[in-house]
Point group: C2
Chain length 318, copies 2
């Protein structure tokens, strides 16, 4: 611990090599190095603790159960799924891994939800891409926030809800309105529209919700889709926002910032997510660390699917 003797550390290394690479017994090593066999055993434990010997599990489906347990306890979550973030992987690959785990989690969820509220975005697009065919039987998927396709990409907001429903042998109900409108009155008008009101009513009482918080960055999908300008992002940041959930921007306490903007946003309220039996948030990458903390700390989600670095961040936060 305190010694830091290079000579001793080198001995540790020799012992570790003999044991793990040379397949010698601790007794044999002790004989060769003039040590008792118990000393060798302790040195091996020390080498593992010091990280000289690293035992890691390498598998795409591997989950970090220790972190999951810590997260559920720390934030009173129903469940957590933490996948290892490979050092060599970029953000896109990481998102894909996390999305895959989320799809798997959803498929394994028991009792299977009869109605599932879903948001949209890059992460959910990836989740939809990994959902196993036949993951459910006759699920009813409901789009919980607006997202009329102003997006340039072919995978529109409505598409991911459809795909998830399709693979679950079920039906989909879309919310064919913009995510954010320009006038409060427009929102009110749309909401009073019968077809929209019906969807929202449905969306507010789903058995499960699946969404991905958005980071407050200039390349967010809300910016790319044209609902926000770069200036809006700066203004939100100045107002203390750390990101959005189903299009609603929140601060570190999970409270809505900029009420005026929020009143122009179409979709379920944060309260609806808080009330959900399974409210599953999916988030990957450093950009989402802060918004992740906000949603788990304020109970907007009760299930979190993420990568181990985000999990570490959440556990470090006081």
């Amino acid at each position: 611990m305190t010694a830091e003797e290079p000579e001793y550390e080198h001995q540790l290394l020799r012992v570790a090599e003999m044991y793990y690479e040379g397949d010698l017994t601790q007794e044999q090593i002790g004989r060769a190095l003039h040590l008792t066999r118990w000393k060798v055993g302790r040195m091996l434990a020390e080498a593992r603790a010091a990280g000289i010997v690293r035992i890691q599990i390498v598998h795409p489906r591997h989950r970090r159960h220790a972190l999951e347990r810590a997260l559920t306890q720390r934030y009173g979550l129903r469940d957590a799924v933490v996948v290892p973030a490979d050092d060599t992987a970029d953000d896109v690959e990481l998102r894909d891994r996390v999305a895959s785990a989320a799809a798997q989690y959803l498929a394994d969820l028991r009792p299977a939800p009869r109605t599932l509220g879903v948001s949209w975005g890059r992460t959910l697009d990836a989740v939809a891409g990994h959902i196993p065919s036949g993951w459910a039987r006759g699920v009813h998927v409901v789009q919980v926030n607006g997202g009329l396709s102003r997006s340039r990409r072919p995978t529109s907001a409505s598409d991911m809800a459809s795909r998830i429903a399709h693979h679950g042998g079920g039906t989909v109900t879309l919310l064919p309105v913009p995510a954010i409108v320009e006038q409060d009155a427009t929102r009110a008008a749309l909401e009073s529209e019968r077809s929209v009101a019906d969807v929202l009513k449905l969306a507010r009482h789903c058995g499960a919700y699946l969404f991905s918080p958005g980071a407050l960055t200039h390349d967010s999908v809300l910016v790319e889709s044209g609902y926000l300008t770069s200036a809006d992002v700066d203004a939100l940041a100045a107002a203390g926002s750390v990101g959005d959930v189903v299009g609603r921007f929140i601060d570190t306490d999970g409270q809505v910032v900029r009420e005026d903007l929020d009143r122009r946003t179409l979709g379920v309220a944060l309260e609806d997510l808080r009330a959900g039996t399974s409210s599953i948030a999916v988030a990957a990458g450093a950009a989402k660390h802060r918004v992740c903390h906000a949603i788990v700390a304020s109970g907007i989600c009760n299930v979190l699917v993420t990568d181990h670095r985000t999990a570490d961040h959440l556990l470090e936060a006081a």
Copy 2:
């Protein structure tokens, strides 16, 4: 083996997680998963064999003994030192690692050489930088090939021999002539010079040699130092050369190419290296793979210090 069942692989993963991360005994795992304890033991062995569980030793001084053994056997070497090539490290860091190992090897060499012939170059410069003070007592270091400083860098050819001697509490004999001269006659004249002849005689009977083969690239030190032009490099490549040893360019069989150039090169002959008790070659990086193969296959060195990727390459070569 042949099954490739994803379900079973997932079970393997679960078992591995429980054992290595959950610190459960094989018995407990068997209980939980309705397996016998022996099945669990076999699954763990399988998981390790399949690479799902990876046990690796992480330490700057770590050596790959299995590869060292394979190399010494395959090429009839006296000794081999193979250090792991960290995936994240660049070529410079890798060279430093290998150089450090070489310095250590030299210091541990028993019986300690009374006379040591050294070459020069970027790699040997790194070796000199890592040689421990007091690594020998009264060693006599002799420069084995020409290298009168035409180099732009401050670390001249003679400098590394001096440093190695200095740290070994010994003396140094330099070879103050160019590496390659322009006329055969010049070489003959220089060699007949008493002072040069004496050094060469000394250099030809060293107890140990330490050198690093050079790759045939346009940024080789021989080019940088002005002994060769870029065109010369291309000509040598066309003549079948894979690199140089103490300034002498060789082909894949370890034979000198371009006799005319070789006759203008000052220093010990390849035969002198082949005759040495310890002829230690130090080489790191992909660029030196081919020249490495040439020198170990043709017996120019009998000790090789290198990285694990080079070792892999040498073992793959039929």
